[in-house]
């Protein structure tokens, strides 16, 4: 178990280092940063001043090592546009994105686990086919479009929910539903497949032979085993959701990390862009480790 953890940790650190390098290269793709920052009306002297001020006159390798050195200690540099520390900016915006991500994940689990169980119990019935159809629809639904449709229906026609902003919990309902939609297909299919496999196993036959109630067999015995991959994937899905929330934050004007990244791309604010890429990647790597750990904790067979 310990060896397994150490191995995973080393891989995670290597991945983080690679993403760091890629994020740095990404922001240098456009060529001369100083020209883009100084803007279209800048004179040669302005550009030179910008280059000096932001340390862009140093060799690229030195800039890179400087960035890495600071990032390791938690200093992600300063935003060109907001003129504040990037780490502060991200910390300010993170609660909104996390709230959105956790709302989306909770909704997704609330929908997909019962649906998956029922579909498995009634395998090959019309209900099962309907559930699989829902999963297919969820897969094909463009999230930004679903968001706009919900805005028209629940925001405008029915007037139940606020259309944009972050003032209250109600602001997170529609974005949460949209985000949940993206995770429901995978989670439902996994629950269904897990339950079908579990229901066919020997220990369920034993439980049946003992005369246990159907509910007890389903929820206590089968679900416990079927849930292991679902819980593990849920952690990974949260990582994908945080990365994908950029679209939904933009549609609903939620000022989270994704919105910050979108603004920063539009404003050529490179330190923020590369920092957000890095932070989201590190969160994802951390979540996959959590997922492996959960797997190991829930399934004693993997602890060997």
């Amino acid at each position: 178990m310990f060896r397994f953890l150490v191995r995973r940790l080393i891989v995670a650190l290597l991945v983080a280092a690679t993403v760091m390098t890629l994020a740095f290269i990404l922001t240098r793709l456009s060529g001369d940063l100083a020209i883009s920052i100084a803007g279209p009306n800048a004179t040669a002297a302005d550009i030179e001043a910008v280059r000096k001020a932001y340390g862009l006159d140093r060799p690229v390798l030195e800039q890179f090592l400087d960035w890495v050195g600071r990032a390791v200690t938690g200093d992600l540099g300063n935003s060109y546009f907001f003129q504040t520390r990037v780490s502060t900016l991200i910390a300010e915006r993170m609660p909104v994105t996390l709230t959105l991500g956790l709302t989306g994940l909770s909704l997704a689990l609330l929908i997909s686990i019962p649906m998956g169980i029922l579909a498995a119990v009634r395998e090959n019935t019309n209900f099962d086919r309907a559930v699989q159809m829902v999963a297919l629809i969820g897969q094909a639904m463009p999230s930004f479009w679903l968001g706009l449709l919900l805005m028209i229906v629940f925001g405008l026609s029915l007037g139940w929910l606020p259309i944009s902003g972050t003032g209250s919990w109600e602001h997170f309902v529609m974005p949460g539903i949209v985000l949940a939609f993206s995770a429901v297909p995978a989670l439902t299919r996994l629950t269904r497949a897990g339950m079908i496999q579990a229901m066919a196993s020997d220990y369920i036959r034993t439980a049946r032979a003992k005369g246990l109630s159907r509910a007890s067999i389903l929820l206590k015995h089968a679900l416990r085993n079927a849930a292991i991959p679902v819980v593990a994937i849920a952690a990974v899905q949260l990582g994908f959701m945080l990365g994908g929330s950029i679209v939904i934050e933009q549609v609903f004007a939620l000022h989270g990390v994704g919105f910050l990244a979108w603004e920063s791309i539009a404003k050529n604010d490179f330190p923020v862009v590369q920092a957000v890429v890095l932070v989201l990647a590190v969160i994802y790597v951390a979540l996959t480790m959590v997922s492996d750990l959960l797997n190991a904790v829930l399934d004693p067979r993997l602890r060997a």
Partner: protein, 288 residues
């Protein structure tokens, strides 16, 4: 309608399933629209006419029979833009899949076939790729380098190879140990020949399934990026861009976002249905 009668009570799968056929029809129609778009558009999709802005589609009161799906906020024929948009979606979906397929299959087959250190490196590359937030990085690249179709295709291609790599790796790992591969080795075939003549043809059906699903994913991502203003450059009628441009009018005339959205949804659904059907038809149930 299929005349075949289901012999057992089990679910009809593969080509016996209605879903597969619906998917195939949708994809066929989309391909037809994509290829023959310049010939079948009823109007020029780029011509603006401010005198006929936001004409309503055929199911609404007071529509103009010349413009079946109405016109957009600049008076361009919506049906023509929709057909042209199909061409853009399919073009991007297919080209992105070719780029990501070449990268993913190469990486995956190398890892699965050779194993050992090479496989460790391949697994590491896949892990790293999965940790990168796709939409954000694609937005950043396009935002920094400017919007163009070529750039968009290359960026998405470089970001979406993970599923190809995962499937190519696991399937070639299984094929590697089969007898006919051993026979090829014994016959003195070169590594390249074993890979290209023995391994690749035997994992091809799995890869076709992945490719179908990747086309759908690429089309969705293109629409998303275009919606955010950093995908296909205007005035090209990408469906995502059409939704973005019509967004300001959606509260007064919801059909402006409903039409391109439905088109996008139906196309992606159709491709996924076809992909699932192909998987069942090939008997490749291994989920990715």
């Amino acid at each position: 309608m299929s005349t075949a009668v289901a012999v057992n009570a089990g679910p009809r799968r593969g080509w016996k399933s209605a879903g597969t056929w619906i998917g195939a029809v949708i994809v066929g129609l989309a391909l037809f629209c994509a290829i023959f778009a310049p010939l079948i558009v009823p109007h020029d999709p780029f011509t603006q006419d401010l005198n006929r802005r936001l004409l309503v589609p055929f199911w609404m009161e007071g529509h103009n029979p010349d413009f079946i799906l109405g016109t957009d906020q600049l008076g361009r024929d919506y049906l023509s833009r929709l057909i042209w948009g199909c061409r853009i979606s399919m073009l991007i979906g297919v080209t992105v899949t070719i780029v990501s397929g070449v990268i993913g299959i190469t990486i995956g087959v190398l890892g699965g076939f050779f194993g050992g250190r090479i496989d460790d490196a391949v697994l590491f590359a896949i892990t790293t790729r999965l940790s990168i937030p796709v939409v954000l990085v694609a937005l950043a690249v396009v935002g920094l380098l400017g919007t163009s179709m070529t750039l968009l295709v290359l960026t998405l291609g470089l970001l979406l190879w993970d599923r190809f790599a995962v499937v190519a790796r696991s399937t070639s790992m299984q094929v590697r140990n089969l007898d006919f591969v051993a026979a090829a080795w014994c016959a003195g075939c070169s590594r390249f020949r074993v890979l290209s003549r023995e391994v690749l043809p035997n994992i091809a059906s799995h890869l076709v399934v992945v490719a179908t699903l990747e086309v759908a994913l690429a089309i969705l991502l293109e629409a998303t990026l275009s919606f955010l203003g950093l995908g296909v450059p205007p005035p090209l009628p990408s469906w995502g861009l059409m939704i973005a441009e019509a967004k300001d009018y959606m509260f007064f005339s919801p059909w402006v976002i409903v039409i391109p959205g439905v088109a996008l949804f139906v196309l992606v659904l159709g491709i996924n249905l076809l992909g699932d059907g192909l998987r069942d038809a090939f008997g490749t149930r291994s989920r990715t």
